[in-house]
Point group: C2
Chain length 572, copies 2
């Protein structure tokens, strides 16, 4: 990876630049507030010349060493302060994976402000709501997404053309910040005295109702970042490829895991499979994160081939199917299956492999690997509890560890959000019984591993039985011609509800044997299901589609699928 | 490693044992006090059947899975509570590396008490002082060290015969604890509400004056443990060999690093080089810690040979010489050079290798590797400051980063002790200027790496020049016949002081070419020094000895060497 690039003059640190913020007064000698900003400062101190950030596949590629990147982060902090940002103010960022959003994860904290991340896939009306609700005092926006801004927006806006060159308004903003600093350096900024202060504000992509603003803390971000570096074994020699959008739950704290580890980060603006493979094969990539739908795209891309060096794939968002795990391993991609939500900084459980699994068949092993597992390195207890009897029920009672009784996953501790921003009612509801109630249904096995059964609203009540849409999908995905599958409840006169399966075929199967014969495929898949699932869980309908509707964060929109099938039902 | 062993009935957990302590009331959902006790509980939850602790080379070898070990730890907590131990009380432990002291690192915290570790190499009078000063309410003592106990001791004593079998008084103590618990399990114990509470109390082996009691916290122990696991890359598949005594600065928090990592720990009662090599070669050892003197013993043992799997050696206590680094690497032992004190939980700096070092000669690279380096993963700033002008001088001024100006190393943050126990005066003195003043003299290089020059009292003022005894030792150690060397100041009529070198020869050299000719060797070493050191730093005297006087923690007693040489001088 080589290209000619010189950072702007304002990005170059002065000789003998200090890397310490001015300390809050009166701290005990043995106590320093936890703050993930420490990681980038320490990286710049120990490995100033190491490649920190590479943004290659754009008209104006850039690369920054830790030392230069750290100076740019400092400039951003001063620029925000110059713009009137005070401690606790919200700074909105609307950007794909790029230096802007990478800078902001650190620079906004350095100004003691709160980073409000906006999903670039939202509609303008949703963006307007978030900017309004968060009370953001300034917006940093990538040039491709300025159309998302409300026309009547009154807060200042800084546009990045993603060039890293002089003449770019974002670069001007940083240069002005440097000038404003009067070379006071890091020591002219103050270290946050309270580790429980807000760090990020990430809005959940609620499929119903208004999005809710998840507030994380400095302490939680520090501990989650360290845990992700440890669990994924990210180190000095690692290169992390940004496929997961950084705006998605703050990139699961990997912006901090990578600086903690002194790893190199490589940013991609879009999920582009040939480009991903180019970097897998040529850029010494060692780690990336992605939901199963992205992983499916990766292993099925024509460029996919066995790697000569292993890559670790951190998978979350849904359980990987046996078929996906097999495909990843064939390529030399080692799956790390984690589970979490925006409210838990990303991962708060992980599937921990057991030595005894080594002797199992790939199919059996994959089933065990698909479980969500146990509490993550710095997470606290993970429990599965009976659903509340009524609105006033605040007692959490654990379901038995029988692998059968379905309950709701709850957790608490340092990597649980502080609150929903300006929404005490939603916070109180989510924190029922002194734990965060995830809304995910699961069983807990005898070994203490949890296995998500479904989102509570995705359960299919078929002939009085509870059928897990996820369990049905797991089985259907093992059919050799299925690329991706989603199952929802469809109204049924006799059984109440019955499963309806939406299937994307693998390209060879779609253009080959099932071409013009998708009805026959549907019957075959139903027969396949009957050999593997109880009758009430077998799909009554199979529909082959070209694509599936997804949320802005890449999750399949089951609410939309339900609308489609039940509209059809209503017509019958 | 296989032998017949069945844990006592009281060590076997009941079916469906819970692994959660009862939570303090009123904690926010997003906050859990940091406590390294969490690590063993999580290990027992996720890997109950994995080998946790192995104690093989004793008349009654034992091995415990995480599940069984965790039950024993719970039993210990209940046994202490039954014995009247209240939160904050001190529990003294006098034991070599063995299950007793490993249990105590967790069980004492589970009783919310403070673990007071007593060095087994102390004299009875020193032990009496520590038991008295710490106000320990109970003493757990290994059978080999009961003679260290004062005859008039009034506190209860529990003796371990290190058998792990019924009939052993320590096992009876644990069984009684189990009975006392009435099977309330972990939930019958309370989780500590304050993470800044004391965890360990470790007395420094002061060469002058009374030992001082270093108080660590739960928060610091958690963060230092995580940092050590991350920095040394200890994981599920690792086996840690206990060569460093666990009583030495709480084993540098490796008791917690290992449980955090789910690693297997192997305890050795004594530093026995043939035994160490037996385990290096046969027990899948991956990590160990040790001071350079121990490392010298390891690489020079007749059993030493190149390893087929690499082992990481964490080295602290003094800088490894180029010669030692070379010998370790030849065997396949990868040195990780860290620096710290009891007051900093062990490591708070580390020598971080730079890519550019790969092209240097082994000699040049070793010199860079001998520097103490930069701040550790969860440590805060490390500074080198001018010594105080007088007793009232509390302003810390950094020395320039020139690799020349000698100052004192100071640090602060989460892995600095809370205080010296019951010694506000010594605490205030050590915390001059709001940082912990280490008493170690160092320079700081242009790249921010610190390099220890000497303990302030070990500097040799030779003809008005400051000669670092460490720097002289580094050079003399590179002589092929030198096994170990220590240099101290000796009074000199003309120059004030001059270096006096004590040397242990390698066995082949001692029995071979220098047999009966140590005077000739002395002259050769002086000539060797002259080619490498400035005149004022060359040893005026070379004395070949069989062994060097060491402190109870294995550090060379320079005060004793100074006494020897200056007594001789006085006689002249």
């Amino acid at each position: 990876m080589s290209f000619l690039f010189t950072p702007t003059p304002a990005s170059v640190p002065p000789p003998n630049a200090g890397l310490t913020l001015s300390q809050p007064k009166g701290l005990p000698v043995h106590f320093q507030p936890l703050n993930p900003l420490q990681f980038i400062l320490r990286a710049a101190e120990i490995y100033p010349d190491k490649l920190a950030l590479l943004h290659p596949d754009v008209p104006y590629p850039v690369s920054y060493s830790f030392s230069v990147w750290c100076q740019r982060i400092q400039n951003l902090a001063y620029a925000l302060i110059k713009a009137g940002i005070k401690p606790g103010d919200r700074v909105a960022v609307i950007a794909p994976n790029s230096p802007l959003i990478a800078d902001a994860h650190h620079g906004v904290l350095a100004a003691q402000a709160v980073l409000c991340l906006v999903n670039t896939r939202l509609k303008p009306s949703e963006v307007a709501y978030i900017l309004e609700h968060s009370g953001s005092s300034i917006v940093l926006v990538d040039h491709e997404y300025t159309h998302l801004l409300p026309s009547n927006l009154k807060t200042p806006v800084v546009v990045s053309n993603d060039t890293g060159r002089q003449g770019d308004p974002y670069e001007q903003f940083l240069s002005d910040g440097r000038a404003f600093s009067q070379e006071r350096g890091w020591n002219g900024l103050e270290y946050h005295a309270d580790e429980n202060s807000p760090a990020l504000l990430c809005y959940t992509s609620g499929t119903t109702g208004r999005p809710k603003g998840v507030v994380t803390t400095l302490r939680g971000s520090y501990l989650a970042g360290v845990a992700n570096a440890y669990e994924s074994r990210i180190h000095l020699e690692s290169t992390y490829l940004w496929i997961l959008p950084m705006f998605h739950a703050g990139g699961w704290t990997f912006p901090y895991a990578n600086t903690f580890a002194f790893a190199t980060q490589l940013t991609l603006r879009t999920v582009n499979y040939p480009l991903i493979w180019k970097h897998f094969l040529n850029s010494a990539v060692t780690h990336y994160c992605g939901a199963p739908t992205v992983q499916i795209g990766i292993v099925n891309d024509p460029a996919a081939r066995p790697l000569t060096r292993p890559i670790s794939a951190i998978i979350a968002g849904a359980a990987p199917t046996a078929s996906l795990i097999g495909s990843l391993e064939e390529k030399g991609i080692q799956p790390i299956h984690v589970y979490g939500l925006t409210e838990t900084y990303g991962p708060f459980t992980r599937n921990y492999a057991q030595a005894s699994w080594a002797t199992l068949s790939p199919q059996e092993r994959s089933k065990l690997m698909a479980r969500q597992g146990h509490s993550f390195a710095t997470a606290q207890d993970v429990r599965v509890v009976y659903p509340p009897k009524d609105d006033s029920d605040t007692v959490l009672v654990d379901v038995p560890r029988d692998g059968k009784t379905v309950g709701e996953i709850v957790t608490r501790g340092n990597i649980v959000m502080k609150e929903y921003f300006r929404d005490p009612e939603a916070t109180a509801k989510a924190f029922r019984g002194g734990s965060f109630n995830t809304g995910d249904l699961a069983v807990i096995h005898t070994d203490g591993a949890i296995a998500v059964v479904d989102r509570s609203k995705d359960i299919i009540i078929s002939g009085g039985e509870n059928a897990s849409s996820l369990a049905i999908e797991q089985e259907l995905a093992s059919h050799p011609d299925v690329l991706e599958v989603s199952v929802v409840a469809r109204n049924h006169v006799k059984w109440g509800e019955r499963p309806h399966a939406f299937v994307i075929l693998k390209s060879h199967a779609a253009s080959g044997k099932w071409r013009g014969r998708v009805d026959v495929f549907g019957e075959e898949l139903k027969t396949y299901a009957k050999s593997r699932l109880p009758g009430f869980a077998c799909p009554e309908w199979v529909q082959v589609v070209q694509e599936l509707p997804k949320t802005s964060t890449g999750k399949i929109l089951k609410s939309e699928l339900r609308r489609i099938v039940n509209r059809e039902t209503a017509k019958l």
